[in-house]
Amino acid sequence: MNLSFLIILPLITAIIILFVKGLKQVRTVALAGSLLQLALVFNLLFQYLKERASNTAPMLFQYDYNWFDSLNIHYHVGVDGISVAMILLTSLVVVAGVLVSWAQETLSKEFFFLLIFLSLGAYGFFISLDLFTMFFFLEVAVIPKFLLIGIWGSGKKEYSAMKLALMLMGGSALIFVGLAGVYYYTFSNNQSFDLLAIAQANIPLLTQKIFFPFLFIGFGIFTALFPFHTWVPDGHSSAPTAASMFLAGISMKLGGYGCLRVATYLMPDAAHEYQWIIILLSTIGIIYGAFATMMQKDLKYINAYSSVSHTGFVLFGIGMLTRTSINGAVMQMVSHGLMTALFFAAIGMIYSRAHTRMVDQLGGMLKVMPFISTVFMIAGLTSLGLPGFSGFVAEMTVFMGSWQNADTMYRVATILACASIVVTAVYILRAAGQAIMGPVTNEQYNQLTDARWNEKFAAALLIIAIVVIGIAPFWLNDLIGSGTNTIMNKVLMILK
């Protein structure tokens, strides 16, 4: 399987979008392109599983091309189980995002172009094995977000777009410093950005200690590491529906992936050294996000703050440095990506009809639009970790893994983090109780229509994925486990 197709296909789709006319043609091309992506990714998944059965190399389907000889920068791609899982998540969210944007009248060409372009960045990021190329794709994925929010957003969109872009750029700057440090201070000569070579070489301890914080905080900002999370609520709530889905479903995962793949994998000593800080910050983020959500009135803010809490589990799992917890962290990335995309989709559907997202102005939606309300409820129940949906297995795995870390303080942290499931239930059920249930508060709501085919299709796609993971998580365990093994082997060497 040639991984470069994952980049070429969105590129071609984006270019075709530039040449077709009118919303109908644009969206058809975008949908066809994203469905092809999905097919390609499923093909990748099966090819990977087939190949993995016999091949124990850490990265499969590698391709290496030297594209900046003087700095030894390569276009080097390859995947393991973690990347395949993230790629799968990306392709599902892209299809759903295109479908919910079906009626995007204003500047539709530019809108879909940016959506597809964003997915290109994400794919490139997940397959890169060269740190510089990876960084390049990370930036490719940031810029469309700024435009999507600034142009098609709502509310204080200029402020939010600027805040998001600046904070993510700040994160990128930190990452860049970290990467430069790794580049210059790993090999005495023949400096290289090659992930596998660096992992093999073991970065000197001092380099790790100095540059790990840059990388972890840099990537952490992308995944709402406390206290660098404030771009999340504003960014998400101002963004148009599809952009919110992409932002929370895909972009935040770039950060979690980076924290794991780059920071922790390459610098396990430093990860162990700074473990307590990671756990402290992520525990605060989990609890803080949950409590902050309780006070929100805007559905998008509710989901955005709950994302702060939920992505906290990702960092928490990574910080615990046990096999189970790291597996759980990756599962939580997949699960949260699907769940939050579904949540934003449902909120977008409600907003586009009722023209408000305030829970106290909504009410009785279950009577008016049963389908959308059910989708909302399913997303909510996934969020509060109900068994049968993906959230439960992911959170459960993170906590089981965290508890394996026998340190008393970390157990206390686990109890605190685990207690957030109660708070989650409070805010989810409160939002659902006010917005979805209760009497119909506004006469005009009775005129509203339920979901259209494209919305139903988008929701169904995400719900199926959530339920499949929730009922049969073992295949995802196995897929991810094949990737985390490599990371764990390196971590365990340190711990011993």
Partner: protein, 641 residues
């Protein structure tokens, strides 16, 4: 083995399929079809459960039946497996049997609902049964937890079934959140087990208890019990259950009899190996149960809502069961689960029949004299009241007696409080009975005109449950009364028996006689007091305290809900707004400000540029010329000591 595997899969899948079909097709099927299909799915499971029961009875229990590996990470394997033994076989029968009767009853009771909601109702009922089956069949704590949460979800959906009413939604939310607090304990217990033993399978955990320290066992059992407190409505997590009355009445019957609240009892009974090893946990269970039993009984005395009285009586009876578990009478507790399922389902469905006849009036002060209008409901309800009061030979007597006898052997004070509670139980149940069915009708003439006995879909389940309430106790007749306690023998492979608590027959006779005498006296007082002149005026003093349920809801609101709300708003307004976000915006403003200042340098005046250029050149010259000689010279000049 293969037969069992298939049978169990079907027992669980039928209700699930029923949920999916009715849930997705609720707009397309007729009501008749919906009700028939949902009931038939449960009936099928019931028949299969009977077969399973017979197989178990004849062949004994088998090992775990694994379907697939649910979670598989490194060495940690959590299989999706079922465990079928005597204990789960009995629960299967209770869940599917009573569940089926409630389905049939619901078909008539919910007849006025719109078709879509009718379908929604039955799909939820099916899902409820499915979750409960998963809970009792799981072969490890994780699968149990999945069912556990599913049950919580269904109670949420069904309590808030009439979602247009905000009060009902509130009750539903409260039920779910209170349960969640308990779930937290349950989850931590699972993590603890997995961290210590690497497994959550019952068989592996129980056979490896020797690897656990006393602290581990105590911690695990107490954490598990916190979960049981939430689900089985024990102090301090009981306040959701009385509010759960917001749901349709058959749902209350389902929650109180066949599913949900018995889950906690099942969990502790299932873990009896662990509990027996921790005296601390056992005492905690016993005392919590005892206090809850008494406390809830006092509240029940002053309630005027027919369903509320029954709800508090459930809390109280669950307390009895925990008392039994705590003193080591595991069989007695399971026995009481069974008889309680019969008479509590009967009482709730009877109450539903009354409410149906009264057009959704639930205040017993507005009833009275219903005896002659609702003959079948009356007689069956009376049977239920006698059974719960513990009058022989009705079922409640035997199970309650077994628990009380064990409590006496453990500590006579436990027994004393238990018997006092039994007296209170008999009193409030017959207060309820007398106010509702005896005396003269106190409702409006309009209501009197419409009073009618319920249709046969509702009365037949009542009759079946009444028969079970009468004879159900016969499976557990103790030796002292000439029986050989069939249930005890059947369950003996699963549940430990505490031999040291055996009492002599003469003591047993004395205890039985005393408790029956107290109950009978209470019944007589209640009937005499309430059949002629029901209390209608508002109470004062202690009565008012009881009427308002000891103000526990208000207390929780003041010490838990409000402070957490303030914390949340503090975090949102102070830390987030004025702290972190202000800092972020501050950085933005600082950059803006400094760039504005720097911009002033580029003011377009050539003279200024030249000046800067010259200054720059001087600096460069100073640094570079002659290896920085001038620079060093100047430095020495100014900074030399």
């Amino acid at each position: 083995m293969e037969i069992m595997k298939t049978l169990l899969a079907f027992i669980v899948l039928w209700p699930l399929v029923g949920f999916l079909v009715n849930g997705l097709g609720r707009n397309y099927f007729s009501k008749k079809r919906i009700a028939f299909y949902a009931s038939e799915q449960i009936f099928a499971s019931f028949i299969a459960s009977i077969i399973v029961f017979i197989l178990i009875k004849n062949n004994g229990a088998q090992g775990d039946i694994t379907y697939f590996n649910f979670i598989h990470i490194g060495k940690l394997i959590i299989p999706f497996a079922f465990k079928i033994d005597q204990l789960s076989a009995i629960f299967l029968l209770i869940i599917t049997g009573i569940g089926f009767l409630i389905h049939v009853y619901s078909a008539a009771y919910m007849q006025q609902e719109e078709q879509a909601h009718y379908g929604r109702y039955f799909s939820y009922l099916n899902l409820f049964i499915f979750s409960m089956l998963l809970l009792v069949l799981g072969a490890n704590y994780v699968i149990m937890f999945i069912g556990w949460e599913g049950v919580g979800l269904c109670s949420y959906l069904l309590i808030g079934f009439w979602f247009k009413n905000d009060n009902y939604n509130y009750a539903a939310k409260k039920a779910f959140i209170m349960n969640r607090i308990g779930d937290l304990g349950f989850l931590l217990a699972i993590f603890w087990m997995i961290a210590k033993l690497g497994t959550a399978n019952y068989s592996d955990v129980f056979s490896n208890v020797s690897q656990l320290s006393t602290t581990d066992i105590t911690a695990i059992t107490i954490l598990l019990f916190i979960g049981a407190m939430g689900k089985s409505a024990q102090i301090p997590l009981y306040t959701w259950l009385p509010d759960a009355m917001a749901g349709p009445t058959p749902v209350s019957a389902l929650i109180h009899a066949a599913t949900m609240v018995t889950a906690g009892i099942y969990m502790v009974a299932r873990s009896n190996v662990l509990y027996s090893l921790s005296e601390v946990a056992q005492n905690l269970v016993a005392i919590t149960g005892l206090v809850t039993a008494l406390f809830a009984a006092t509240i029940a005395i002053k309630q005027n809502d027919i369903k509320k009285v029954l709800a508090y009586s459930t809390v109280s009876q669950l307390g009895y069961m925990f008392l039994g578990l705590g003193v080591g009478a595991y069989t007695g507790a399971v026995f009481h689960v069974m008889t309680h399922a019969f008479f509590k389902a009967l009482l709730f469905l009877g109450a539903g029949s009354v409410i149906h006849a009264m057009h959704h009036e639930q205040d017993i002060r507005k009833m009275g004299g219903l005896k002659k209008y609702l003959p079948i409901t009356h007689i069956t309800f009376l049977i239920g009241c006698i059974a719960i009061s513990g009058i022989p030979p009705f079922s409640g007597f035997f199970s309650k007696d077994e628990i009380l006898a064990a409590a006496y052997a453990h500590n006579p004070v436990y027994w004393g409080i238990g018997v006092a509670t039994a007296g209170l139980t008999a009193f409030y149940m017959f207060r309820l009975y007398a106010t509702t069915f005896l005396g003269s009708f106190r409702g409006t003439p309009e209501q009197a005109h419409h009073l009618h006995e319920s249709p046969s879909a509702m009365t037949i389940p009542l009759i079946i449950l009444a028969i079970l309430s009468v004879v159900g106790g016969l499976v557990g007749v103790p030796e002292s009364l000439g029986g050989h306690h069939a249930l005890h023998q059947f369950l003996s492979p699963v549940l430990l028996t505490e031999v040291k608590y055996e009492t002599t027959h003469s003591t047993e006779y004395m205890l039985m006689g005393l408790s029956v005498a107290i109950a009978a006296t209470a019944i007589v007082i209640a009937i005499v007091t309430y059949s002629k002149k029901p209390q209608i005026s508002n109470s004062t003093g202690v009565g008012k305290l009881l009427e308002n349920k000891w103000y526990i809801d208000e207390l929780y609101d003041a010490i838990i809900v409000k402070p957490l709300g303030s914390l949340a708003s503090f975090l949102k307004n102070v830390i987030e707004k004025s702290g972190i976000d202000a800092a972020v915006n501050g950085v933005g403003k600082l950059v803006n400000y400094s760039s504005r200042q720097l911009r002033l340098l580029q003011n377009g005046q050539v003279g200024g540029y030249i000046l800067l250029m010259v200054l720059g050149m001087i600096v460069i010259v100073l640094i570079w010329v002659n290896d920085g000689y001038i620079y060093r010279f100047l430095m020495n000049l100014f900074f030399a000591k």
